[in-house]
Symmetry: C2
Subunit: 337 residues, 2 copies
């Protein structure tokens, strides 16, 4: 029976599982919806993780496998995941070792560097900055979830966009190109001039449509904001997001840890002013900025799984792991025969 490791990166919108051999080579991968603890019950989070893991095991041929460790990288404490549910399901898949929890931001960081100290700046569904030292998170700034923070995140941008649209339709706010865009995204007729219960019909329908969503789903409107740099409202929101993240980074920054800085999350590549703002903070401490974009925490979750078994990962092995994950992804996508 092949000895393998299971690594699962649990993001806000997607959970990605990889089954790898002890060298970190990818044998199978699977994905499912996100399992963010701020917007899922422990059972929902566990179900998303299990489905992604089952897909990875199936993609690797179905086994039987001896899974030496299952590493789960996620936002928030492990108490937010129904552990017993995971134990039963993973046991059925062949888990013989421990279930180890780690942070989603640690996994992002480990995806782009073998260093044990630096920063991860994230703007995906959520947002925040962590300072990492000795492979552990030493300081978190923000990343407090959609109700308490996550300033500059996809949720934040989407929520602010929805509020700006409601304000315009209500006569409280200025006109914005976000209004036709967001109404169209929700299938609402912007040209409906009726009044419904004292409100313009599009506003009444907007209210109904927004409350039919789970709050975290407001993040889906973030792309509408970043795609409209000529709209003053959208431009101000993007600038505010950049400022929030740069401020969080400045709070987390310590000159003794100049970098590297991993930049992750689905929104961050659209915050075009952010890298320069981060670089300014690093340079003001007399250090050289080392900023590295990261797509997701998949590779880092594999690295953390290997390290959980005391298997060292240097830059060369990290590159090999990343290459094998990409190769498998392309195989699955059918681009390589």
């Amino acid at each position: 029976m092949r000895r393998v490791l299971l690594a699962i990166d649990v993001g806000g919108s997607t959970s990605r599982a990889h089954l790898v051999d002890p060298a970190g080579r990818c044998l199978g991968q699977g994905r499912n919806r996100g399992g963010n603890p701020a917007s899922n019950t422990p059972e929902e989070a566990a179900a998303a993780i299990i489905s992604a893991a089952e897909a990875a095991v199936a993609d690797a041929g179905g086994g039987p496998f001896h899974i030496a460790v299952a590493l789960i990288a996620l936002a928030g404490p492990q108490a937010h995941v129904a552990l017993r549910q995971l134990e039963v399901a993973f046991g059925r898949m062949g888990l013989r070792g421990p279930i180890v929890f780690s942070g989603d931001l640690l996994a992002m960081f480990a995806s782009v560097t073998a260093a044990s100290a630096g920063y991860c700046v994230v703007a995906g569904t959520g947002a925040g900055v962590v300072r990492i030292r000795d492979g552990e998170i030493e300081r978190v700034v923000d990343a407090a979830g959609w109700l308490l923070g996550d300033f500059g995140s996809g949720y934040w941008l989407g929520h602010e966009a929805a509020r700006a649209v409601a304000a315009e339709l209500d006569g409280r706010g200025e006109a914005t190109a976000l209004t036709p865009a967001l109404l169209a995204a929700l299938g609402i007729d912007a040209a409906d001039t009726r009044q419904l219960l004292g409100r313009p019909a599009p506003l009444r329908h907007l209210i109904d449509a927004i409350y039919a969503l789970r709050p975290i789903e407001l993040a889906r409107f973030a792309p509408l904001v970043v795609a409209r740099p000529k709209d003053p409202v959208a431009r101000r929101l993007v600038a505010a997001a950049e400022r929030h993240l740069a401020d969080s980074f400045a709070l987390a920054f310590e000159p003794v840890v100049p970098g590297p800085i991993a930049l992750g999350g689905g929104v961050i590549s659209h915050l075009s002013g952010l890298p320069a703002a981060l670089a300014d903070v690093v340079r003001s401490a007399g250090a050289l900025p080392d900023i590295r974009p990261v797509a997701d925490g998949s590779v880092g979750a594999i690295v953390l799984a290997l390290r959980a078994l005391d298997i060292a990962v240097d830059e060369a092995r990290l590159a090999a792991i990343a290459a094998s994950v990409v190769a498998r992804r392309e195989e699955v996508a059918g681009r390589v025969p």
Copy 2:
């Protein structure tokens, strides 16, 4: 069998039902939790309404009754309540007439005036302003629910307070007396100096405690804000709440409808600067301000139920209805033998 009417005022935190005779005299009252459509499923809203109605019927001696109409005053469209569930339960209680829906703000307005035109300014769990003409809502400003608006509401104050506390504990925000108050309210030890996963322990526990609540429950922190006028953060929040509501009123105001203005909701009496701000708007149009506080929409729901049966309600009958509701409340409370 006695011919009666059933009137239910569905608020954000409490639903209040009254069974009255055709003169509007209160025969029984009952209450249950709120059924706010923005934070309840249609089934949950219906269940809260039914429980309050059943309690009112029981309080009136249990019947049998011929209920000529059931009027439900609530925020948002009736589609947010499971109608079939209501029909079955009300039928069992003796409903022989229609179920009529109306607005919670119309009910508040009708609680303090027999006029058919004026305003209702509300800051309870939610917040907003309506202009009423011919007994119908002609214009709503805000009252868009906790995700899209409700600026100045109990939810808004509580949410902003929680964010201010998280910001202070995170090193992002200024010190505020809200921090010890809110941590104490959640049973979190503010003196715990440990770091947990890169955060101060009280912040880690705050995050866990906040996400264990339904978002709308953040309104419970509003009293902590209004009780701290000496704290700069709390004072700014209260001033901002007053400004939001005064701005909404100014948008809703039309000189041809100078008033009366009903002021409702659990928070509004704590916004001590608001009446003067509203009065300024009215006076600037050359009219005399007529501002009337209202505890809840119970009396108005009864008025609307009577009007649904084409029974006229003038100021004298309104006063009689209000007196009988208070008398019954005191009887139930055991203060009158």
